[in-house]
Symmetry: D3
Subunit: 293 residues, 6 copies
């Protein structure tokens, strides 16, 4: 992750939630009051959010200490203490909701991705995401997919070519679309084509694209077609695939299965935050700089 | 909604998705190629997102025409045409994903809120949201809750006081916490207290707060306690309430039920976008200025 | 105050004043030259601006030491040393004017508010501000009002309903306006109505608003009408009230008097900054972290 | 004025005041309701703010019509209609307060500047401002000074050299300070020196500075010293000059008198806004593009 | 190009150059004075900058008319009129320098790229750019390379993997580095490896990378090695290649030659701007919407 | 330089280059891997960029140590070690390209300026820059000119008046243009006029401008005319002056020669960055705070 971008995002989110002040905490807590906050998992799942916690709390109180007990991508169980932060109580309470909203969402995505990987249960085929992420959070959500054991499809419209039915219609044919693109495209950008019929498949192969996406095809169709695809061209399945039918794709031979629901329909992983009165000397706080990518 | 804020958000989101350019559409479509895009519901639900569609497409092509066939908060059915946009094809395709991501999410929230209202089926009790919104999207998500028939709880830490267990612990007691706050709070800010026991309820009533929240209480407990609350103090139930058990709260007499899942665990409403080749003279396009709040 | 927002504001203000460089100080002072700057009150008043001083100087020189001798809201007298900053001379001189401009203005507002509180001399009635603040400085100016002993009216159009004559005219009547608002308003937002006649007062009471504002009424009228207002509805007087006639309202019984002049017509409190040559060992500098809200 | 910067400032200010929405106007007015707003002077003074009104209202409603009856710098009288805006009522009411706060403040500065010009009543000597402006509003406040008949001193630390006592102390002497600066300064930047004694005056003259500022000197001292200053070096008086004693400087011969109070202690010019129900055909609205500098 | 990003960049650049106002033009030209500005090529080269001209002038005067006589990528000759803009004279003069600075630079890059393409004179081998662009201008400079007949290498660190000597050293070997990357990389991202020896070449081929870069190799070495590279792996030459020796690479068989000097050492194409007094009826101005990508 | 502005620029540039992540370094290097990076000059020239290096690397890794072996404006020779940075390898590699792009460009400008100073070889006449800088980089490029021994002309349209032929045409004559400007200009802003004929020269002198620019005049013409210019008016030559003919101006007596090519056609100074494996105890790292202006 880009740590500068993360900081700017967190500043934006804190301003959204705090506005000009926290009318509750600022009126109740003196500025000197310190304490500890612990994050506890309230459900089982995959954790994701180390950097959000570290960067977030330090933005609100640059002297606070952050100890995280679990690494991004690790399993957590209901009741497990995930992190412990020591600092000014008013800062801890101001930062709590924004950080929880992000960490719960990222952990929810990592958990859902992991469920998909397990449901698929394939040695060859990988799970990947789509561009159906929450606007403004793409960097965080794509990171969470990786932490859950998934892979990233393209990040945006800028880093890979994806030729869909709309493009094909206007260009006249797959080969014309690919030819047009390749004549002016840089050599470090991959080209993927979306196909629905065998005729399209053959045309795509003939156009020497880097990747072919089977749109809304059954595992049986894919298995039949995949033999035609020469080595060097990757394949992807997409459309109508859910946690329930995912396992039926486990041995169809496709390289990637992209799943929009990993990010567009997220169930947050439940995590609670509790403030604990400070007892000097009792708690070993060591700051653990966390910035895995 | 604040239309200036909406425009700035959309600019941020388009830059996230498009980056320096759309390597697919810019290479395939000439700048003069025009066409139509239609949005079709692929599921039943409540629509939300008029302003996002209008402002979004016009940011990408200020000469495009936008016609929206449904108003925010209205029911839509699978297969129904929701909107039709006419303009440069490359602009339509560049804008499509960001706008869909937002509109599907907002419609998903409106739909879920509406399901909650129907499940509750109460004349007196209202459904409301929480601060568990997606960071960066609070304005849009709280708007979607209203479109689904729900009400907004406070927007952030700045517009209402919410005294929780953490605050009470540090202040010493509910009455001390309320007293401290009120001694310096402006008169246009409401004060709510979270309670878990009858003793706390009585203390909160004695402190003349504006609102009392029953935290994790059963409908039966609430029904018993609500009689003690004098007129003029509003009540709210929160914690452990799901679509499944919501109806059991319908006649407990509480004024508001706040539901975190309305925004923290959203299932997007499925909407697809199709590009249609332009046939001159055939399509009556009239721009409908949409900016409901 | 929101410390992140304060930092972003200060960055904006320093860029406004310094532009690409300070052509005077950068050419005269070497980067190694250190020294002390003291802030001296040149008039009597109420001080306000601890966080501005601390955050401001540290933005320009993150190794500087800041010692503030007075807390926000305390009285200061002509000649009194308010603060002492030790660091690079070029940084001190670059930061001086922006910080003084803010602190003098905030102290001016605190001082004027305090004069109003003293002039009113009431046990029951409180002084509050309005939205007539300087664009861009609302957070700082509303904070200054609190430091002077005043209270904050709503922060903006977003955190409280204020129904004025224009709204009433278009809605048809006070009751219709209130009813319309309440039917879709969240429960944590208060509703105030502006009234000018007894008929309007009775209608407002009947509508169960949270607060009634007597617009341009004499103390005598207010005293007569206040008896009609039931407990639980707050009252506010506004319009035509100055430091000169404020005392005549001291026993009319109104809860709040809102004064636009606290922020729209400010006289800065005079404060001067002097640079003192560094004499090692002489000055006890300890950094005092200041971030009261 | 820089129209791009003005638009960005207004966006910032509208977001400060409106936040996520105007809870009053959005709930009462339908989006289709149109009407007129008039600005009326409630006191005599000098008007300033054409561009703020035009740009501001059009940011909130790009179809609104703005007619301004007075030009920046012109006298207005109590009761005079200054401007009339026709558009959506909700947009007019949302924009009203921010625009009034700016226009009242700018007109207050123009009015105060004009009072200073009249009080001075000099053919030779000009009134100018200082850097004691409100952080964030320098462009607008310096413009207002010009509209009131005053002149602008330097805009910031970047566009002119100003050697004060602090600089002189560290450099060793005026001549050394000036020499140091000139050895690396570009030829389009002027150099001014602040002096308090005749010895300093002679040294400054010897250093061939562009401008000499008499700091806290009486009109008599200035009159005596001014004869020594050779043609080609401008003179400025500053410090301890008020509206009351300004006239005593009218014939001392100084070129400029700089007055901090023009901007640091402003009394807004009172202006009210009224909404008028639309009567079709009655009001001649023509848009007057206003963008004087 | 991303038109939203272009507009935000231009706003930033205009603010850099204009600051709070244009002290020359604003004082001399009334706001009503209109006229025409023409852009004339003062040297031969390749033009680039249509969108910058159109968007730039319209930002300063949204009623101005812009006619561009040449398309991006076309040859222009000394003396040729490139564009004609009609609008307020003060707006034309304010916008002139920023727009010229960009268009001259972009045209300089397009011209230099074109010279490289001509010098290389190869059917098979393409010229491409590097990340050695001017910070802040990458979108514009990479676009200019395309307009000159070149191709884009990766846009940044985010859209393609580039394994250099530093990475190889730390990973242990090329195969380990590639393996590590591929185990977690998405399928739409290409992997390139930089090699200097034949042993490295063979290792890279064995690792099945997408592209191999010959770092600082002579055309002779490349020609010898290229036969070993299997079809499907692209090749790139880089390091020590100048306009002078470029032709010696024309038949070595490499796919791409990347040239840092296209963007890091630019000679602007000389273009002048002249203002012409308006003569009504004489000039046919039609706005040509320009937004090629 | 303004250190706040520098930091904001660097944040913008890092986001441009890194985007959401560095797909190469983040996948290969663990977060704990530390090492050293050295900057080596690959050509002779003048160095410029201390603050960019220090601020840039510390933005990416706030614990890194930076040691710079050369000061801005000093000569460097091919092979010389310029700087050594110790920190996390992934941070060093992420920051490398942006910092090099800036430092190479700034050093290129300083070097070219220095060549101009040497070519001119004059005691009296100084070299200065123009507004033909790269949009977004003016602060850095004008600083580089100073480091190379040159002087800065005006920074933008805001800090000095420059009356060119276009202005003169519209104003009617030089004297009218100057008079118009001076009647409303502040006293700290200089006025320069561009002239091409002796008649214009005499008119400019009569108008008492601060500076006269000889546009496209030969050294002989300038030498003849310079005698007419009274003391107190500065002179500048501009137009058609190159490194080749610069020496012919050495004794024409003009005060300043402005050269657009210093910034509009830059050849970067070649600098390479190498990563060195960490060997504990071997390298003496001391952080040298660098912030010369």
């Amino acid at each position: 992750m880009n740590s500068i971008k993360l900081r700017l995002l967190l500043e934006q989110f804190f301003i959204e939630d705090i506005g000009d002040r926290d009318v509750t905490s600022e009126l109740i807590f003196g500025n000197e009051q310190t304490g500890n906050m612990v994050f506890i998992a309230k459900d089982n799942g995959i954790f994701c959010g180390e950097q959000v916690i570290t960067t977030g709390f330090r933005l609100m109180d640059d002297h606070c200490l952050v100890k995280i007990n679990v690494r991004d991508g690790e399993k957590v169980e209901k009741g497990q203490e995930l992190a412990r932060i020591s600092g000014k109580v008013s800062a801890l309470l101001k930062a709590e909701r924004v950080i929880l909203n992000l960490v719960q969402r990222m952990s929810g995505i990592a958990t859902k991705t992991n469920e998909a990987v397990i449901a698929l249960d394939s040695v060859k085929t990988r799970i990947c995401d789509t561009r159906k992420t929450t606007p403004g959070l793409r960097m965080l959500e794509k990171y969470a997919v990786r932490c859950g054991g998934g892979y990233n499809h393209r990040y945006g419209l800028y880093d890979a070519v994806m030729i869909k039915d709309n493009h094909i219609t206007f260009a006249g044919s797959i080969s014309k679309a690919v030819e047009t693109v390749k004549s002016s495209l840089g050599h470090m950008v991959k080209v993927e084509v979306e196909i629905e019929t065998k005729a399209q498949l053959l045309e795509a192969i003939g156009s020497k694209v880097d990747c072919i996406m089977f749109d809304n095809r059954t595992p049986e169709e894919i298995e039949k077609w995949i033999g035609i695809v020469p080595e060097g061209i990757l394949t992807e399945a997409s459309g109508g695939i859910t946690l329930d039918n995912l396992n039926s794709y486990r041995s169809c031979g496709v390289d990637y299965i992209s799943l929009g629901f990993l990010t567009h329909s997220v169930k947050s992983l439940d995590i609670s935050a509790k403030v604990i009165a400070e007892k000097k000397g009792e708690l070993p706080h060591e700051y653990i700089g966390v910035s895995r990518s």
